[in-house]
Every structure is written in structure tokens, then in C-alpha cells.
């Protein structure tokens, strides 16, 4: 081969190289610059040739290249030095540099050939690996959980420092299945089963077992194991965590206990209440039977006396008999009303949608007041509500009969039934009359059982009507209140549903 041919052959090799190959004089001036150098550093050959190699030096490494050349001048060779170069665009390029001396025919070093290999990709990979390992270690430390690894056979192949810190086991005690000696004996068999099942399918598993802490106390652990898979799908190893959930377990246990206790207490109270209700029922049953029997005799025999012997009696005797008879009747009514009242507390509500106007119409019908010319009844618009129709009708019957009674001395009685304009809250209904009214200083007595604000001789009654009304409304979640001025009528306001 001729010298010329040989040179072009070598040039072709240099140019086809993937590594930057740069010829440089000992004073640092670039003499040759191959295609790969153009590609790696961004300078075309004409721009680079004739300039100093320091062109490629990063600011933090001044004189590095001069140092390399000094060593070359002494006949050294520089092999695979990792360093950084700056490209034309200012970017940093990680390279592995090998520099060899170029000698003349006499063997004197006259220059150097530098081969710069781009190791950017390789470094990134190494960095990623290092970062990943650091993150894994940090994560392990940051976690309050015990992190562990096992090999594909489920055996300990690496140290478990966190497990050892928790259990107090020595490193040599963990080997194989030695770690499981810290697991509660009752749980051991089961956890190996759980793991074996997960291993068959190479899937994540979760379980719980008790682990003996170094102080000897067994703690509940929530365990999760994840298989790390080979590209082919086989399990390479297992990584998992154990979290101490004893506190949570105890809290749950406590909640369960408290709940059970509450349930028990509710049941006790319910049965007490049921017993009380039962007693009350027995009591009122007995009242309705036994208390009325003597009354019947008084009532019945005083009537017989009047029927049979009236002509023989003086007016005085007849009057006394009347008094006995009337009082027996009155007592019968009192007993009846009291029973109605006590029953109201026990009877379940039969709630449904209600048009109060219908209840008012039925109440007026029951009271036979539809056609009394003395009484003018004005029924205004009444918004619908929900409740027990029979009981709420009783509310209107009692309130209207009160109004009728206490307007008895008016030449023209006016009774108004209506509702206040509702502003989004529970409707407020009212019954208003122009009767005798009452003194507001006694308003607190109005709804008490057997409380009366008027003489029985003027306005008869047992004094339980408003107590019944209040009880019915209370059972519906509603309430009642009244306003009046003596001699100028009274207004009873009430709600039939709970107010928000």
C-alpha cells in the first residue's frame, strides 16, 4: 500500500468512528477534528482546527487539558478519564477521555491524539440507579412501617434492620424462615399459606399477624407483600411492609365495646319504658273499670230515687239528689278525660298528609255549630301539613269548643280560624274568638291538667281540653301558645310540625 492510500484509509477509519478523535499539538492547538467531534461538540472542523483545545474546557476545570498534555509530553498515556466538556451551544457533555502521544520518526512526542467518548447516556442511567437506590433507602427510613425483602422462595436473603429493631432478633436469627419465630405461634402456619397462595399467582397479598416486640408484647401487624417480577413474569423477589396497627385495633375494639354497651343500655331503657307503659296501661284499665263502678252505683241509685220517689221528696231533698247526681256525672267525665289524656301519650301516631280545612269542617260538624246564627265562623286559607288526622281534628274540636263556650255571652260571637303567613318555617295556625278571654298573668296555667281560669258555674268543663291539645301538638313536634286580654277575646296559636 502506498503512503497516500494508507493515509486516506486511516482518515476513513477516523471519520467513521463514533468517538470524537482530535489531533492536537503539545501547545494545545487543534490540528485534526473528525466527524464525530463535529457531532459531539457542535463545531465544524474548520472552526475548531487552529484553535486551542481549552475551547472545550468547563470553567470549573481550568488547565485540565494543559495538564493532560504536559503528561503526554512526558510520554504518559491518559486512559478513560471521566470529565466534562462544553459544546458550541454551551451544553455540558460527559465524556470519557483517552489521550495518547503522537511521536515523530525519531520517537519524540510531537502531539497527542485525544479520543473523547460520549458517556452522557451511561451517566444518566447510573445516576438514575443511584437516585433510585437513595430514594428506596429514604422511603424505608421515612416509613413508620417495617420494610422487608424476601427472595423468590420466600426466604430472607438480605438484612432486615427495621424488623430486627422491632423484634430484637439478631441478624443470624432471621435467615431462612427464622424471622417467623417472632410471629405469634397461632399465626405462623396461616401466614405461610397466605404467602404460598400469593406466590402461586405472583400477586400482591395482604394479611394480619401478631409479632412479638422486643419487650415481649405481641403487636397486631397489617402486612402487605408485593412480588417484584422478572421481565418474563417470574417472581424475582418480594418486597413488603408490616405496619403496627395495635392502636387502631384497640380503638376499634373500644368502639365496639362502647357501641355494645350503648345498645345494651338502650335496650334496658326501652324495656323499662315498655314496662312503665305497660303499668300505665294496666293502671288506666283498672281506673276505667274499678274506679267507675262505685260511681255507677251513686249515679244509678240517685237516679232511681228521683224516678221512683220524687213526688214524696221536698224540694230540698230533690236538690240534694240533683247535686249528688251531677257530681257523679262530673266525676265520670273527669275520669274519662284523664284516660283520654293518658292514652294520648301511648297511642302511636298515624301520620299522613292533611288538609287542615277538612279537619275544621269535621270539627264544626261534630260540634253542631254549622248553623248556629249566634256564631259566625270564618275559616281562612290553611296550608297543608302532616300528622295524625284523628288527633289533629281533636285539636280543632277542643279549641273551637272552647271558643264557642267562652263566646257564650256574646250577642254576636266571631270565631276566626286561619294561619299566619309562613316564611319558609313551619306553618303557624290560629283559632281566635271575641269571647271573655283570660288574664295573661295566668297564661302558664292554661295548658295544665285540670287547670281552669273560670268558675265552673259560669263555664262548665273538666279543665283538661287544652292539656289534651298541647299533648297532641307536642307529640307531633309542634307547640301551642296563647294571647288574650280579659274581656276582649283570645287567640290560640299552634304549630303541627317541628320547627327547624
Amino acid at each position: 500500500m502506498r503512503t497516500e492510500e494508507l493515509q486516506s484509509y486511516l482518515a476513513a477509519i477516523v471519520d467513521s468512528s463514533d468517538d470524537a478523535i482530535i489531533g492536537v499539538r503539545l501547545d494545545g492547538i487543534v490540528e485534526t477534528w473528525n466527524v464525530a467531534a463535529e457531532r459531539l461538540f457542535g463545531y465544524p472542523a474548520p472552526e475548531a482546527v487552529g484553535r486551542h483545545m481549552a475551547l472545550l474546557e468547563p470553567p470549573e476545570l481550568p488547565g485540565e487539558i494543559a495538564g493532560f498534555l504536559a503528561r503526554i509530553a512526558r510520554g504518559d498515556t491518559i486512559r478513560h478519564v471521566r470529565t466534562v466538556r462544553i459544546g458550541k451551544n454551551g451544553g455540558r457533555i460527559a465524556v470519557s477521555v483517552t489521550v495518547s502521544p503522537v511521536r515523530d520518526a525519531e520517537g519524540r512526542v510531537i502531539g497527542a491524539s485525544a479520543i473523547d467518548r460520549d458517556i452522557g447516556g451511561q451517566t444518566a442511567l447510573e445516576n438514575a440507579l443511584r437516585i433510585s437506590e437513595e430514594r428506596y433507602r429514604s422511603l424505608t427510613l421515612a416509613s413508620a412501617q417495617i420494610v422487608w425483602t424476601k427472595n423468590a422462595e420466600g426466604q430472607v436473603s438480605e438484612d432486615w434492620p427495621m424488623w430486627r429493631a422491632f423484634t430484637g432478633q439478631r441478624a443470624d436469627e432471621l435467615a431462612g424462615r427464622g424471622w417467623a419465630n417472632a410471629v405469634h405461634p397461632e399465626d405462623r402456619e396461616r401466614i405461610f399459606e397466605v404467602w404460598a397462595n400469593a406466590a402461586k399467582t405472583a400477586t400482591v397479598y395482604e394479611t394480619e399477624y401478631r409479632v412479638r416486640r422486643r419487650d415481649g408484647e405481641y403487636r397486631h401487624m397489617a402486612v402487605r407483600g408485593v412480588p417484584v417480577l422478572e421481565p418474563g413474569g417470574a417472581v424475582r423477589e418480594w418486597i413488603g411492609t408490616c405496619a403496627d396497627i395495635t392502636g387502631r385495633r384497640r380503638a376499634e375494639e373500644e368502639v365496639r365495646t362502647i357501641h355494645a354497651e350503648l345498645e345494651k343500655r338502650v335496650q334496658e331503657r326501652t324495656s323499662q319504658l315498655e314496662a312503665a307503659n305497660h303499668e300505665l296501661e294496666a293502671f288506666s284499665y283498672s281506673v276505667s273499670h274499678d274506679l267507675r263502678a262505685p260511681l255507677r252505683a251513686i249515679h244509678g241509685f240517685s237516679r232511681i230515687l228521683m224516678e221512683e220517689y220524687a213526688p214524696e221528696f221536698s224540694g230540698q231533698v230533690r236538690h240534694y239528689l240533683e247535686v249528688i247526681h251531677e257530681n257523679a256525672l262530673q266525676m265520670g267525665e273527669l275520669i274519662d278525660d284523664l284516660l283520654i289524656f293518658s292514652r294520648l301519650s301511648r297511642q302511636p301516631l298515624q301520620k299522613q298528609a292533611i288538609a287542615p280545612a277538612d279537619l275544621v269542617a269535621q270539627a264544626l260538624h261534630d260540634l253542631n255549630q254549622e248553623t248556629d246564627p249566634r256564631i259566625e265562623v270564618l275559616v281562612r286559607a290553611l296550608p297543608p301539613c302532616e300528622g295524625d288526622p284523628a288527633l289533629l281534628k281533636q285539636v280543632y274540636v277542643n279549641l273551637l269548643s272552647n271558643s264557642i263556650k267562652y263566646t257564650g255571652r256574646c250577642a254576636q260571637a266571631r270565631i276566626e280560624v286561619g294561619a299566619l303567613p309562613a316564611d319558609g318555617r313551619a306553618a303557624v295556625y290560629y283559632v281566635r274568638d271575641n269571647g271573655v278571654g283570660f288574664d295573661m298573668q295566668y297564661v302558664h296555667k292554661l295548658f295544665g291538667v285540670f287547670q281552669r281560669l273560670h268558675k265552673a258555674s259560669e263555664y262548665p268543663g273538666t279543665g283538661i281540653g287544652l292539656a289534651i291539645v298541647q299533648r297532641i301538638l307536642q307529640r307531633h313536634g309542634g307547640r301551642i301558645w296563647a294571647e288574650s286580654e280579659l274581656g276582649r277575646g283570645a287567640t290560640f296559636y299552634f304549630t303541627m310540625e317541628p320547627e327547624p
Binding site: 284499665y285 276505667s288 273499670h289 267507675r292 263502678a293 262505685p294 260511681l295 255507677r296 252505683a297 249515679h299 244509678g300 241509685f301 237516679r303 232511681i304 224516678e307 265520670g332
Partner: protein, 145 residues
């Protein structure tokens, strides 16, 4: 032998018995009850009477009382039980029974009706209303074959 009793009155309260007898006699019902009224004071005796057992074993079961006036709260066997047994037996089923009680509990009223009582009166009843109900029940009894 007073075999042809028309009305059996079952009541343990002597005052109530006296009042009932007074109303029955004064409201001209006694004329229509020639064979009179038998009074018993507890449920067990009432059952013996209508089924002709015990002290009444010599009575003829085919000649039962025309009507029962039955209190509910009775010693030994209560009124609802007497009613149940009388209505369960074909020999006595047709006898009209007026339940005549001091209880106005819905429960008693409903049970009496379900068991087949002719009517349910709450004591103390109005004399006239009571007489009217007895007349109606007797009319039912007379229509029966």
C-alpha cells in the same frame, strides 16, 4: 225447677246487678221475660249454666237462655272467655250476647265484636238505651229457629 230462664245476667258487682234488674223490670221488659232472669256472679258459673254442667248438670241444654248479659271483668273465667266458649259451641252459638262492661278500651270492644257479641254497651248506660238494646237482642233471639 226454674228451667226456662230467658236472660242470664253475668255480673259480680251487686250494685250493677241491682241496677240492671231495676231497669229490666221498670222498662216493661220483665213482662216479656216470664221465666225471669238468672244471675250468676262469675264466668265459671256462667259456663256451667249454659253448658248444663257442674251445679247445673240437671238443666236441659236444648233449652238455653234467650240471651246473655255479660260483664267482661269477672272472677275465675273472664267475660271474653265465656263469650269465646259460647260462640265456639254449636249448641250455644245462636244465643245473643250483650257485652255489658265498664271498659271502653278499643281492645275489649274489638275483641268482643270479633268473637261475635250481639252488641257492646259501656256502663253506666243510659237506662233507655240499655232497654232498647235488650229489646233488639231479644227480637233476634225470637227470630232464630
Amino acid at each position: 225447677m226454674n228451667d226456662l230462664v230467658e236472660i242470664l245476667l253475668v255480673d259480680d258487682n251487686p250494685s250493677d246487678v241491682e241496677l240492671t234488674l231495676y231497669v229490666l223490670s221498670r222498662r216493661r221488659l220483665a213482662d216479656r221475660i216470664p221465666d225471669g232472669i238468672k244471675v250468676v256472679h262469675d264466668g265459671a258459673e256462667a259456663l256451667e249454666f249454659i253448658f248444663c254442667t257442674g251445679a247445673y248438670a240437671d238443666r236441659d241444654i236444648h233449652n238455653p237462655p234467650k240471651m246473655l248479659l255479660l260483664d267482661l271483668k269477672l272472677p275465675k273465667v273472664d267475660g271474653l272467655e265465656v263469650l269465646r266458649r259460647a260462640k265456639a259451641d254449636p249448641r250455644t252459638r245462636a244465643i245473643p250476647i250483650i257485652v255489658f262492661s265498664s271498659s271502653w278500651e278499643d281492645r275489649d270492644r274489638r275483641q268482643a265484636r270479633e268473637l261475635g257479641a250481639h252488641s257492646y254497651l259501656v256502663k253506666p248506660v243510659d237506662f233507655e238505651q240499655f232497654a232498647e238494646t235488650v229489646r233488639a237482642a231479644l227480637a233476634t233471639a225470637n227470630e232464630a229457629p
